[in-house]
């Protein structure tokens, strides 16, 4: 059974994609945050532009920060966003 993952986008990532969230199916070998991002980059176009540079992005799995190498585990939601600028 294919696993699925909700991806949510914020700030300029959201704006440039024109997308708040999407659901993706996780194929074999997609085990980490970086794997998901590479999958998005492979779509080409604006995805490739936005997600090529991991250093410009931050990630959270089920609302806790994760690193590119963090395993997805049983997470339901991956958030991808720029460094935060609140306060």
């Amino acid at each position: 059974m294919a696993r699925s993952l909700d991806i949510v986008y914020f700030a300029w990532v959201r704006e440039r994609l024109g997308l708040d969230q999407e659901q993706v199916a996780l194929g074999e070998g997609i085990e980490t945050i970086a794997d998901v991002v590479m999958m998005l980059v492979a779509r080409g176009g604006v995805y490739a532009e936005i997600f090529a540079d991991l250093a410009k992005l931050r990630f959270a799995l089920d609302q806790d920060y994760g690193l590119p190498a963090s395993p997805l585990g049983s997470a339901k939601e991956l958030a991808i966003f720029p460094p935060v600028t609140g306060g």
Binding site: A11, W12, P82, T85
Partner: protein, 150 residues
Amino acid sequence: MIRISVGPDDFDIAVETARVSGQGGGAIASFIGQVRDDGNLQSLALEHYPAMTEKALHKIAETARADWPLHAVTIIHRVGKLAVGDNIVLVITGSDHRGAAIEACSFIMDKLKTVAPFWKKETRTDGTTKWIEERASDVDASQKWDLRKN
């Protein structure tokens, strides 16, 4: 007692201070961040990640409570469209000791700036918009606390 609030509404510093003061102690430190007019700023739009925001702020408050003897921590952060001079964020800490209250307040602000999932988009008076970028000085300020603990 920890109080976290995230939403579009403004806060009342007097009400929030009284709430912290009512938890005991005698030392109350607070910080208010407002939309600063740096010349031609029209407004700010504050976006956040609702499912994560309160969780992240709670974690910061809990860390502060573990590191300093605090009776109360209040963190209020506004979202949505804000004009120049509007309040953005309020942090209040209550302790028996002024050093603990002030340091914890400073810690919470530094962590909030680098960890809490908020993003600011500014609109200039000429109509142009821009997402504000992370500042190196904020990252430094945040990391100093981590180094201090080691």
